[in-house]
Symmetry: C2
Subunit: 137 residues, 2 copies
DNA sequence: TATTGTTATACTCTATAACTATA
DNA sequence: TATAGTTATAGAGTATAACAATA
């Protein structure tokens, strides 16, 4: 009975993760996806919107919309680069840094619960395999 | 630099699979997803649309639309069940069976290429982990 | 009344095209 | 002319609500 197609399994694994995360991130102030963006901004400081978009594998128009939401809530700032005023340097605000700090525990709990059905000694290998098949990301 | 969030990795793993499959399934006559539906119809013969939808984890309205496409191309048939004429029994047509047969090699190639970046001795474990985390599917 | 399937509609996510400003 | 960012729009994919047929 079980569907054993990798595409199907990946899709439903992703949907299962999203559903779990959506419930656990409730009330935090940002979705799991938004926190991922904040995290990249934190890790790679000083990137422009376009560079950030490339880093995260999304279109620049999608990036603009995502940043709109984060900026509206005071989590990030956009500052034109003095040497090339076409580029917006994206940075975390104190509120953004604070939220990212509070997210760590939530994410740890989500990942722990999500991976609880995988054999403990297989968890690192599973993560490594995901990294490998997900391309350069 | 690498993003190590499971949600992100799952999403991009899924997108990578879809992109690879889209190119390899070109010209076959059905998408990877549609072949997955044909495959379930083949495996669990005699199911109604609603039962099939539950089996595949989609809404009945989504199922109706997907089956519309498959029926229009002559790959499946819908027959009211004599004992309960509200239910449409879904079955493969000869053309559907034929296409499913031709798909096997394509899917094998896609999965092989997709998993080529995973350590050979980790591939079965990876698939097992995916089955586990993707819930009941 | 409840269920199955259909249709119309709406929502989310994403990208393409056209625009503004800067280079 | 080319690039960064924005905005309007459109296309997938999905679900909710309303409806018809059947139970």
């Amino acid at each position: 009975m079980a569907v054993d197609r990798i595409g199907f399994l990946l899709k439903h694994a992703y949907l299962a993760y999203e559903a779990l995360a959506a419930s656990k991130y409730e009330g935090l102030g940002a979705t799991a996806r938004e926190c991922g963006i904040l995290s990249q901004i934190h890790a790679l400081d000083g990137l422009s919107q376009l560079e950030l978009a490339a880093e995260l594998g999304v279109d620049r128009t999608t990036m603009a919309q995502l940043l709109d939401g984060l900026e509206r809530r005071g989590l990030i700032s956009r500052t034109p680069l003095p040497t090339d005023r076409r580029r917006n340097v994206v940075a975390l605000t104190p509120a953004g840094r604070d939220l990212l700090g509070r997210e760590a525990a939530v994410r740890a709990e989500v990942e722990k619960e999500f991976l609880s059905v995988v054999e403990p000694h297989e968890r690192d290998a599973f993560r490594a395999a995901l990294r490998a098949v997900s391309g350069r990301f």
